[in-house]
């Protein structure tokens, strides 16, 4: 059996994941035993304020979401580089700090560009 610190630290996560999934499955099953089930055609229609549903939901969607996701992706990857830097900053000293100042400057320039191009506006 493996018995190192890494395995010990992540063992509870594995157990809790299993318990969580089992809990949801058991409670759904419990309700399946107890609940009534009397489906009618009207009950199974999609809710649309009591009207008959019009058209399909899966249509082409607003491009603005795409722009925001792209900007998010840039920042999220940038932030990944900031974690190890933040942990080690006290050891890196002034050179490490100024290198990251340049990195953050580039992120800020990117944000300003996206702002200027109106990628952050919800309505156009």
């Amino acid at each position: 059996m493996p018995s190192n610190a890494f395995f010990d630290n992540y063992l509870p996560i594995a157990i809790l994941t299993v318990i969580g999934f089992v809990f949801v499955a058991v409670s759904l099953f419990m309700s399946r035993i107890v609940r009534p089930s009397n489906m009618t055609k009207e009950k199974l229609t999609t809710y649309e304020c009591a009207e008959v549903p019009v058209g399909d939901t899966r249509i082409h969607f607003n491009i603005q979401y795409y722009m925001i996701v792209i900007v998010f992706l840039i920042f999220d990857v940038g932030i990944l580089f900031l974690y190890p830097w933040a942990v080690q900053l006290k050891n890196l000293g002034a050179p490490g700090f100024f290198q990251m100042v340049i990195f953050i400057e580039i992120l800020i320039i990117g944000l300003a560009y996206a702002w200027r191009k109106e990628a952050l506006e919800w309505t156009q």
Partner: protein
């Protein structure tokens, strides 16, 4: 076997208590005979996980009651009063009611994804609790990347929201899910940046190290909580986490007056209950993280003759409930914003402010001021 003086997590605490009573060695030897010493460890960890799970569920039930009571308090009503003393058993009755409810899957919905979404929303809401220190050595697992783990796990919930909204095949659900995802990813950036500013001061991502770094006092009176070092970071983190939770004033994913119930419009019965439980588990977890990062975690005045594990748990819960009460109070007094205002505040005010805050924090640490 565990040896040493410091206890870092609840497993070692249990082993320590069992050793003090004098039964651990016997149990250990019993398992050793069958060559299954590791099974004992898995057993103890499973019991701890079960305790955590029960604790979280009870807390969640209490929070649903508390939410109604706080709303009632603000609106000068009584709130639930009938079931149990002061209506305390109301969440139990809700659970019984929801178990007996019909589980409707709309004919046009994607059946598998529709059923999968409650699992994916509920399990990560539990997993966040693993590295949260509830008290001195009352932590399930002190991960070395604890803070990164918390932010990574909480980024799973937008996926579940998107699955739920897409699978329902309902226009309100889809709009609610899209808004929720746009909002979640917009506010993850200032959230993570504010957390990184704290990491600069501690030099560690472990939640236990972050709490220990806040244990001292300035001039013997003012506690060294990061809220005093990082006031801007605290405000940014609090606003961003309320937005991540999707609570008023940021509740676009389920704004009742526009989108019926947002991404879980089509859910009923126990599947709806899972979304409901996950929402309140998230609220508890996020308040715990705010306390851990900025309000000194379980630190507080030491009281003689009472074990530090108990006093620290009490301090942690008091602070956490204070944060939870604040968010509920905010819900009752602030109107909802518009979606474009929300994204403007997120990207044009909070992200630049968080970057600036990070640079200032980095400068202070590098210059050796703090």
């Amino acid at each position: 076997m565990w040896t040493g003086d410091t206890m870092t997590n609840a497993y070692e605490l249990i082993v320590n208590i069992l050793t003090a009573i004098g039964v651990y060695d016997q149990i250990y030897n019993l398992f050793e005979i069958f060559g299954m010493a590791y099974v004992l460890k898995i057993l103890i960890v499973s019991v701890l996980i079960a305790v955590l799970f029960a604790f979280v569920l009870v807390t969640v039930m209490f929070l649903t009651w508390m939410e109604r009571k706080v709303v009632a308090l603000v609106q000068v009503r009584y709130g639930p009063m009938v079931t149990g003393p002061r209506g305390l058993l109301q969440p139990v009755m809700d659970g019984i009611k929801l178990i007996g409810k019909e589980d409707i899957i709309p004919a046009k919905a994607d059946r598998w994804i529709f059923t999968l979404a409650p699992f994916i929303v509920f399990v990560p809401a539990l997993l966040i609790f693993i590295p949260i220190p509830f008290g001195n050595s009352l932590i399930i697992s002190d991960l070395r990347v604890g803070l990164l783990y918390i932010i990574a796990i909480s980024a799973v919930s937008p996926i579940a929201v998107l699955l739920a909204g897409w699978a329902s095949n309902n226009k309100y659900s889809l709009l609610g899910a899209m808004r929720a995802v746009a909002q979640d990813i917009s506010y993850t950036i200032p959230l993570a940046l504010a957390a990184i500013a704290v990491v600069i001061f501690t030099g560690s991502l472990s939640t236990v190290d972050i709490v220990n770094a806040q244990g001292d006092y300035w001039f013997g009176i003012i506690p060294k909580w990061f809220i005093f070092l990082q006031p801007i970071g605290f405000v940014l983190f609090l606003i961003a986490s309320i937005a991540e939770l999707g609570r008023i004033p940021f509740d676009f994913q389920e704004s009742e007056s526009e989108l019926v119930a947002g991404f879980f419009t089509e859910y009923s019965g126990m599947k709806f209950a899972m979304f409901f439980l996950a929402e309140y588990a998230h609220l508890f977890a996020v308040s715990g993280i705010v306390v851990t990062l900025f309000l000194g975690g379980w630190n507080g005045p030491v009281i003689p003759f009472i074990p530090v594990q108990i006093t620290s748990l009490v301090y942690f819960l008091i602070k956490t409930y204070a944060v939870i009460f604040f968010t509920m109070w905010l819900r009752d007094t602030v109107p909802r914003m518009r979606i474009d205002q929300l994204l403007n505040i997120g990207w044009k005010i909070m992200v630049p402010l968080a970057l600036l805050n990070l640079l200032v924090a980095g400068f202070l640490v590098t210059a050796g001021v703090i």
